[in-house]
């Protein structure tokens, strides 16, 4: 019954762990996942022989290589700020991982060649780079806005310059680019780019600002949300996101299954950010 587009549950193998600034790029041989990947989907990972820690950890897929000398590989970006990801990035080449993916609904792609603004915050900008490639293939004009607390946590400015017509960088400490946050500059960026669609991935305040700016300028927004996803496969209902459905009724849906990409105007950001 496993179909050619659905997720798969496979044993993977660490191919390399590269540190770039404060971020670790982990490349994994994961047959089946790379071939099915679409930008905005993610992968759930567990460490082998970890009987005490049962929840999965979800990572954006930063890129895939369906045919390489090691077989199909995918790349994730990890911030090693707590114990679990520190164990992950400490693994050596050849270490075994258990992966499920690609999971979730990907970014919706425009049928027409339109102008797109891609907004990414820190490591969460990971899915925007393969997205930019797909958009360019469709003849879209791509502008990027990358944000981070500091230069160390900034992802892929070099790669952004390859696939985007214009790239703007903001950091909270001003170590590179403009000092500020997504919320300070996004409205100006949307109007300057003349964006028809804004794609975004990052923290809730940033995504809220993106959704608001897009709505204000009459653009569509596609926001990739991040929240704690205990199973990541839709089984446990542990990742509720408050949204408004097409029927105008508010409900809690699963980030991992109905998301992680939502139309920005469908998410009830204020309710979600409330403690």
């Amino acid at each position: 019954m496993t179909d050619a587009r659905g997720p798969v549950h496979v044993d993977g193998e660490v191919l390399s762990v590269k540190r770039v600034g404060a971020l670790h790029h982990v490349t994994v041989v994961a047959p089946g996942i790379a071939e099915r990947f679409r930008p905005g989907t993610f992968v759930a990972v567990s460490l082998p022989d970890d009987d005490a820690r049962l929840a999965r950890r979800s990572f954006w897929i930063h890129g895939v290589r369906p045919t390489g000398s090691h077989g199909p590989t995918l790349e994730i970006v990890v911030t090693a700020k707590s114990a679990w990801p520190r164990r992950l990035v400490a693994l050596g080449q050849g270490a075994r991982l258990v992966l499920t993916g690609p999971l979730g609904r990907p970014f919706a792609l425009p049928r027409e060649p339109v102008t797109c603004l891609l907004v990414g915050e820190g490591y969460a900008a990971a899915p925007l780079f393969p997205l930019a490639e797909r958009l360019r293939e469709r003849g879209c004009v791509v502008a990027m806005l990358l944000a981070a607390p500091d230069e160390e946590h900034l992802l892929g400015t070099l790669a952004a310059r390859r696939s985007a017509r214009s790239v703007t960088v903001v950091t909270a400490d001003g170590s590179v680019g403009v000092r500020g946050a997504v919320a300070d500059v996004v409205a100006d960026q949307v109007s300057r780019a003349g964006a028809d669609v804004v794609y975004a991935a990052g923290g809730r305040p940033a995504l809220h600002a993106v959704a608001a700016a897009a709505e204000q300028h009459g653009a569509w927004s596609q926001t990739a949300v991040e929240t704690w996803q205990p199973c990541a496969t839709g089984l446990c209902h542990g990742c509720p996101v408050p949204v408004v459905g097409e029927d105008g009724v508010g409900r809690l849906v699963r980030a991992c299954t109905e998301g992680p990409v939502f139309r920005g105007d469908r998410v009830q950001w204020v309710a979600w950010e409330a403690p």
Partner: protein, 273 residues
């Protein structure tokens, strides 16, 4: 006739989504039954997060019984489960005996329902939000009410809470009231850090569930038991079956590995030709 599930491994309530999520990994193959997440008469939005947290060798789980309600379940989820040909047990809870009777009446005649499993004491709800069935005689009243509302042949399972002092008394009471089997055990009453009620499930519970199975089998040999509590693989399934259980539910393990139940089934069949 004493109840035995079609095959020994089942999916536990609340850990298999709507069934479709597991099917993506062939996770329903060879199962003896699928127990749905707990349904109520009316839709419940569920609690805001966090709902499921890690605890060593377990999960602290409290969704607030998010479910689409009976009508939506019958229209949108049950037909798909029926089409898979998997025995489907619908987990239920209700606020009143009248509501229990109504749920039983409508589910008992719905095509594709093999039986119902009563979630008598949901550990993740404050006491009073559903019918209080903590006392054995109250649990028996619920079982008796639902039994009377079900057509003959519809299986009635009672999932019992983790109260060691009342276990045998409750098991005897629900058996006499008409339960075909008991499911042992429910998640342990637990709490999130902020004080919200929750249930603790997962491998941490396995020894407790095993003790409950042994005790009930010894004291009530005529009452079939389905084990539920911490089984993750075929070895666990075998231990529970050896203890006298007629079936074993796999739950939390699916959150860690959606193929866990199907793998246990495959391994079991390989060894018993």
């Amino acid at each position: 006739m004493t109840f035995t599930p079609a095959r020994p491994v089942l999916v536990a309530s609340g850990c298999g989504g709507t069934g479709r999520e597991l099917a993506a990994y062939d996770g329903l193959d060879g199962l003896g039954g699928f127990v749905t997440r707990t349904l109520t008469l009316d839709p419940r939005p569920g609690h805001p997060g966090p709902r499921v947290l890690e605890s060593p060798s377990g999960f602290v789980h409290g969704t607030g019984l998010q479910n689409p309600g009976l009508d939506s379940f019958l229209a949108r989820e049950l037909p798909w489960l029926a089409a898979q040909g998997i025995p489907t047990y619908v987990s239920l809870t209700a606020a009143t005996l009248g509501e229990y009777a109504g749920l039983g009446r409508r589910l008992g005649t719905a095509p594709g329902v093999t039986g119902v499993e009563l979630n008598l004491v949901p550990p993740d709800l404050p006491v009073g939000e559903v019918y209080d069935a903590r006392e054995p005689f109250q649990a028996a009243r619920v079982v008796g009410t639902v039994r009377a509302s079900l057509p003959p042949g519809c299986v009635l399972l009672a999932k019992l809470g983790a109260d060691p002092a009342r276990l045998l008394e409750t098991a005897r009471a629900v058996h006499e009231a008409g339960a075909d089997a008991v499911v042992l055990l429910h998640a342990l009453p637990a709490s999130f850090d902020d004080g919200r009620p929750a249930g603790l499930g997962g491998p941490a519970l396995r020894p407790m569930a095993l003790r409950a199975v042994h005790e009930v089998r010894a004291a009530l040999p005529d009452l079939p038991v389905i084990a539920s509590g911490g089984a993750v693989d075929v070895d666990d399934v075998r231990v529970f079956l050896a203890a006298g259980a007629v079936g074993v539910q796999i739950g939390s393990a699916l959150l860690h590995d959606p193929t866990a139940a199907a793998r246990a089934v495959a391994a079991l069949e390989e060894e018993t030709p």
